[in-house]
Symmetry: C2
Subunit: 371 residues, 2 copies
C-alpha cells in the first residue's frame, strides 16, 4: 500500500513521490500536526484548499480523548475527522520526552501521566500498534524511546537498545496489517550510537525510516551532524522522515542532507502567536508598523488570505483578539509551507537546490524555531 520513487536528486537533496493508498504525495513533504483529531483552526476543506495531502495524528492523545471506542465507532480517524487524504500517526514515543515528568520507562513499556487528568497510562509497543490499527492511519510509527538532549551516554545506550526491542515488537504487532510502518532511529547526539541504532532499525526492513530524538533542544550544529550520520545508514530507496522540524531554515538544511518528510506545529503555533511566514522571512503582524499596511501578508502568495485581506486588517483582528485573525494566519502559514516544499522540489528537479537553500537561509535566521 506504500511506494516511494525518487524522481531527481541534487547533491543529497531528493525530489520524490510517495504513493500511499492511491494518493501520490510529492516529496519533500510537510505534514501539519493534528494532535486532537484536527489541525488547529483549519477545517479539512481548508487543508485541502491549501494543498495538504498528509497530516499527522497522535496515538497517545487520541486514545485518551475521545477514546478508541468513539473512533472505532466511526471506522477510523479519517471518517471521524472528515479527512479524506493521508494520515501518519505518531506512536506516543515523543510523549516519553514531552511528558517525561512522572513517567516511568521499562523494557515492557512506559507509564505516562495523562495530560488531561493526571491518571496513569501504560503504553507498550503492542498497545501503541493496536491504537494505530484502530485509527487506521496510512502510516503507523513504531514505539520508540525519545530522550532529552545532552544526557549521559549510559541512558542513550539503554534507549537505543530499548528502541530496537520495541521496534521488533511493533513490527511483529503490525504483521498482516495493510498500514505502512516506519521505524525510528534514536541515539541522541552520539555518532556511534546513531550508527548502531540506524543499523539495528534498518535491519528490520520497515516501509520508511524516521530520525527521532533530534530538534529537542540540542544545538543546531548537532541536529545537522546527527542527521548526516543517520542518513548515511538509511536505505536510499525508502522515505526518510525527520520528526518535529517545521522552520523553513531547518527543513532546507535537512532536505540538503537527504530527508524527505517533515512535521511540526511550527506554522500553526506561530499563527496563533500572531506571526506570518513569508518569502521575505517571518513577520510579527501585531507590530504597529503594519497598522496602515494595505499589502497582503506575502506579495508572492496565492492563498485566499493574501488575495483578500491586508496586513492592516489582520492586525486589527489580532488587536481585538478576534480568533479570525489567528484563523487567517494559520491558513496562510500552512499554504506557505505547502508552497515552500513545492518550490524547493522544483529547484531540486532543476538541479538548482543550493540556490534555493541560500535564499531561504538568508531570510530565515538560523535557529529561530518554534517547534
Amino acid at each position: 500500500m506504500i511506494g516511494f520513487e525518487i524522481i531527481e536528486t541534487d547533491g543529497e537533496a531528493r525530489a520524490g513521490v510517495l504513493k500511499l493508498n492511491g494518493l501520490e504525495i510529492e516529496t519533500p513533504v510537510f505534514m501539519p500536526v493534528g494532535t486532537n483529531a484536527n489541525v488547529k483552526l483549519m477545517r479539512p476543506s481548508d487543508l485541502e484548499n491549501v494543498g495538504v495531502n498528509i497530516i499527522l495524528g497522535n496515538a497517545f492523545h487520541l486514545m485518551l480523548k475521545p477514546g478508541l471506542d468513539v473512533i472505532e465507532n466511526h471506522g477510523g480517524l479519517h471518517p471521524f475527522m472528515g479527512w479524506k487524504k493521508a494520515i501518519l500517526t505518531d506512536s506516543g514515543g515523543f510523549q516519553i520526552f514531552s511528558l517525561a515528568e512522572g513517567s516511568k520507562v521499562s523494557d515492557e513499556g512506559v507509564e505516562l501521566r495523562s495530560p488531561i487528568d493526571g491518571s496513569k497510562v501504560f503504553i507498550t509497543p503492542e498497545i501503541s500498534m493496536k491504537v494505530q490499527k484502530v485509527l487506521k492511519s496510512d502510516i503507523a510509527m513504531v514505539l520508540d524511546q525519545c530522550i532529552p538532549p545532552n544526557v549521559d551516554r549510559k541512558i542513550v545506550e539503554e534507549a537505543v537498545e530499548r528502541t530496537y526491542l520495541w521496534a521488533l515488537r511493533s513490527k511483529k504487532a503490525m504483521e498482516g496489517s495493510t498500514q505502512a510502518v516506519f521505524g525510528i532511529v534514536q541515539g541522541g547526539t552520539y555518532r556511534d550510537l546513531r550508527v548502531k541504532s540506524a543499523r539495528q532499525i534498518t535491519s528490520l526492513e520497515f516501509d520508511g525510516y524516521a530520525i527521532g530524538g533530534l530538534s529537542v533542544g540540542e544545538e543546531r550544529e548537532k541536529t545537522l551532524n546527527m542527521t548526516e550520520v543517520t542518513v548515511e545508514f538509511l536505505p536510499k530507496d525508502k522515505p526518510r522522515y525527520f520528526m518535529g522540524a517545521g522552520s523553513p531554515d531547518l527543513i532546507v538544511e535537512l532536505v540538503g542532507r537527504g530527508v524527505d518528510m517533515f512535521d511540526s506545529v511550527f506554522p500553526t503555533r506561530l499563527a496563533r502567536h500572531g506571526a506570518a511566514l513569508t518569502w521575505k522571512g517571518r513577520i510579527n503582524v501585531r507590530a504597529s508598523k503594519y497598522r496602515f499596511d494595505k499589502n497582503p501578508l506575502d506579495e508572492e502568495c496565492d492563498c485566499y488570505v493574501c488575495k483578500n485581506f491586508t496586513r492592516s486588517y489582520i492586525q486589527h483582528l489580532l488587536d481585538r483578539e478576534e480568533v479570525l485573525g489567528q484563523m487567517l494566519l494559520t491558513y496562510h502559514n500552512i499554504r506557505f509551507m505547502m508552497s515552500f516544499v513545492s518550490k524547493m522540489r522544483k529547484f531540486i528537479l532543476e538541479k538548482r537546490f543550493p540556490e534555493f537553500k541560500e535564499k531561504i537561509l538568508s531570510v530565515y535566521e538560523k535557529g529561530v524555531r518554534c517547534e
Copy 2:
C-alpha cells in the same frame, strides 16, 4: 440606491425583495452581527457559502478600533474586511443601553465610556453619521436613544423626543449621501409613546424603519404588543427592521406581525457556547448523550458541516476546547438561520405561513433567547 418590493403577504407576514446597490436581498432576512469588522469565526467566503447577503457592522466599536483612519485608508468597511455583499451599520444608539454605566446623555449627544480603555467618547448624530459615511455601509442607522425596559414614563418621553431630534439631525447630516438611511422608533413599552415616536420618525421619510428598544429584557408579551403597535404606524412600502432578534421563535412571531429584517449575535454566540440550532430545536452538543452519535448536527441541513461531521466529532472538539468545534457550530448555525428565513419566505409565498409558525414554535420553546 435602495428599493423594496413586496412579492406576497400572508396575513401580516411579508415576502419581499430588498434592492440594495445592485444586490437583491430576499426578505425576511437575517443579518449576522460583525461588530469588530468580522462575524466571529467566519471568513467572508464562509458567509457567502452559507448564503449571507447582508451583515451588520457597528459604528461605535469601529470608530474606537481600528479607528476611522485605518478604515478610510482602505476606502470603507467592505474592502477593509474583504466583504463584497451588503452591510448595515448601527449608529451607536444601542451602546447607550448596553454601555449605560458611566454614560451621560444630553440633547447634544451622548458621552460613553470606551469598553477598550475606559476613555470618554462623545457621540452626536453628526459624529455617528460621519463615521457611517467613512464606513460606506449600504444602510446607515440614525442615532437613537435606546433605554432599558420598565423605566419611568418621564425618561421614556424624553428619549422619544430626543430620538426624534437626533433623527432629524441624522437625516440632515446624511443629505446628499448615496447610502440608505433608516429611522428608528423608540417609546419603551408605552403604547402611546410608541405611536408618537412612529408618527414622528415616519414623518421624516426614511428609506426604512427600525423598531428599537425592544427585546432588551422586557416580557415576551410586551415585545410582541409593542411591535404590533409600532408596525401599524409604519408605511407598508418600506422595509421594517426589528433590532436585536435572533431566536427562531421570536423571529417567526415578529414576521407574523409584519417585520422584514433581523439581526442578532444569537446564532454565533450560541455556537461559541456549544449549542446548535436544528429543525427539531436547539441542542447542546456538549451533552454526553452525543458521544457516540454519528448523525449530523441536523439531518435536514445541507451545509458543509452537516455533510462532513458527526455530533460525536464536534462534541470531541468542544470537549478538548479545540476552537474548530466552535467554528463548525458557527458555520452551521448561520446556515441554519439562512435556511430558516428562506423556508419561512417560501411558506409566505405559498400562503402557508401559520403552518410554518406553528412548527417553529413547537420546537423552539418560547422565551429561550440568547440576545
